[in-house]
Amino acid sequence: MSVSSSYERFFDIPIGPQHPALKEPLFLKLIVEGEHVVAADVDVSYTHRGIERAMQERNYVQNIYLAERICGICNVAHTLCYCQNVEGLYDVEIPSRALYIRVLVEELARIHSHLLWLGVAAHEIGFDTLFMYVWRDREIVMDLIEEVTGNRVTSAINTIGGVRRDVKPETCDKCLKAMDYIEERTKYYKRVCKTDPTIAARCVGVGILKPDEAVRLCAVGPTLRASNVKYDVRADDPYAVHDEVPFNVIVYDTNDSFGRILVRIDEIFESINMVRYCIKHMPSGPVRARLRLNPPVGEHLSRVEAPRGELVHYVKSNGSEKPERYKVRTPTFENLSALCEMLTSKGNYVVNIADVPVVFASIDPCLSCTSRVAILDSERGKIWIGSLEELKRLKR
């Protein structure tokens, strides 16, 4: 990246890929003028695992568990997206109880993901007391997920044709009780975030992303909604039973990191209400439709709203027991270009080096699910991360 300047006062500051302030391997190249970041470049290619290729080598059932491992925190979103995708190849109706359980677990996972993020954000700000309290309360949701699905993190609840286990009435009662507690605690955390001077000082006006820029750079999820753009896959392209379960799309018009905190906290409340609705209105019946092992020839694309934003999976089937092509596009990948925008000072808006971790944390990055294809340009001796589209373009 080059920055034109009439005088030579710019410095490159490399941060990462191993750095005490970052939990994940990310390489940030900041170009600074004094304390101010004037340009930023991101490299996320340190955790490329070749999952898409590995999926082509395994059958559809094994791939459920591989898709689950694209991301630990949003594993429910990934299996949901994968299973919807493969079900789309068949012409089949999924039992409605299964869809309710899917939404129930998805929303529980969203609550836990947003609480996790709130803790991480508090930690980046330097507010470790809040971090510990939030993570303690998050354990309650983790225990619920363990109770419903059989495991704390990798839930393995979704399967092709429905869900793998039913929810017991006692578990539902426990869920409702826990939701009351989480709601009360989240109300308290919202009050803390709104009144605490530390959080205000570190977040208000930091990491500005204007609505038109957010749309232009294809930001997704809470990052987009904090820039006052009302877009949520659950509302705009409802899957599972999201057309029946009522909820509000939360938007804030502050355009900054503070807005992103509030969007996520308010989404926790919405998710709590959705969990309650699902438990109260869950129909009885089977939880799984049995499907043939080999899906018909065809291709399908499915989207879900993961906690971090819109997640897209694409599958191409040739009628055999393994997919011919599988493609995943994760929300963090979409948010990276918006991140570079947020890290660029212009006009009155300045980004200090000390703000970088907060801004970076505000998109809720998940890098290991983002790293997709590394392109090596031998002529220019450059490596960068590209999408499938870019790869196709290069091949031509």
Binding site: N59, V61, Q62, Y133, E139, D143, E146
Partner: protein
């Protein structure tokens, strides 16, 4: 400053963590349907190989013993996904609630 009263209240609360693994082992809430280490019943198995075919991580491997084909489970590779339990036509595999499977010797991490 909504934080201060909360912080003071916590001085008198009981601690949220357990002294695992030195104490409090029995206090860990292990739910009913937890997917832990599997148990395998050789008598029921007919050696169809479905468990090995659908195991996502290659932890279930089909071998031959004096009674014919049967799987061996290498739990150091196992994801505890319970797919083998799900596909087994004879219910020879059950995932138990035992979750403490860490060890120093890989050869102990095998279910036969």
């Amino acid at each position: 400053m909504a934080m201060l009263p909360e912080v003071f209240r916590h001085i008198f609360k009981k601690r949220a963590t357990l002294m695992y693994p030195f104490r409090d082992r029995e206090k860990i809430p292990v739910p009913e349907g937890l997917r832990g280490k599997m148990s395998f019943n050789r008598e029921l198995c007919i050696g169809c190989g479905l468990c090995a075919r659908f195991c996502p991580s290659g932890a279930a491997k089909l071998v031959e013993d004096d009674k014919g084909k049967r799987p061996i489970f290498y739990i150091d590779q196992c994801l505890f996904c319970a797919q083998c339990e799900e596909v087994c036509p004879r219910k020879a595999i059950t995932l138990t609630r035992e979750f403490e499977v860490a060890g120093f010797n890989r050869s102990n991490l095998v279910v036969k």
